[in-house]
Amino acid sequence: MQIKEILIQFLLFTFISINIAFILGLITTEEKPQRLKKIILRNLGFIYITVFVLGIVAVVLPLIF
């Protein structure tokens, strides 16, 4: 697998995981919509974890096996 392909796949999975994290974060928080910045900031950690895990699963594991 070429590095370019790996990078593209990583970006695609990053985008989808950010979207999933954003939607789940928006659903689970029952804050007022004015506090959206707060919600996004609070979910950043969750977004990073999701990206990290999905990145490993999607890119690194196929390289190993």
Partner: protein
């Protein structure tokens, strides 16, 4: 009963149009954000999949995933019939179909969350008002008993 009917309508509306149930529950901002993100995910999926349809035999999970949203399902039928495959030249079909499947599944999650959040808000509304009435009742009874005695 009226509240349950409203919740069922919100659930169905949320299945047809992503996040519409939140608009029914007076959460306009949430509706806009959820609708935009689900639609973005669907369009990105269609583009990445290069306008190619998927059959049940190819991947049953991705095929079933699209039924999570009414608008997603309808849009896929329309776009895939109208636009010929192979325009963008992208070769990541699997990821594209995964995008569409995730959009459908998330839409179902949104619809369920609309139902549960509305139910929670509804029960709070029903439970909260009787408390002051119950507390006020004994005083009224005492007053009613007291007044005949004094006059």
């Amino acid at each position: 009963m009226k509240n349950t009917l409203k919740l069922i309508i919100a659930f169905i509306a949320s299945w047809i149009v992503p996040g519409l149930g939140y608009l029914i529950l007076n959460k306009k901002m949430k509706f806009i954000l959820l609708f935009a993100s689900i639609m973005l995910l669907t369009f990105a999926g269609i583009l990445i999949a290069d306008f190619r349809d998927i059959r049940f035999i190819d991947n049953p999970y991705y095929y079933i995933g699209r039924f999570g949203g009414g608008l997603i399902w309808g849009m896929l039928i329309l776009i895939l019939k109208l636009v010929p495959a192979g325009i963008t030249g992208v070769q990541y079909f699997d990821i594209g179909h995964l995008y569409i499947c995730v959009a459908g599944t998330l839409n179902l999650v949104i619809a369920l969350s609309v139902f549960t959040q509305g139910k929670r808000a509804g029960t709070q509304f029903v439970i909260a008002p009787p408390a002051p009435e119950a507390a006020a009742k004994p005083d009224d009874e005492i007053k009613q008993i007291d007044t005949p005695l004094t006059t």
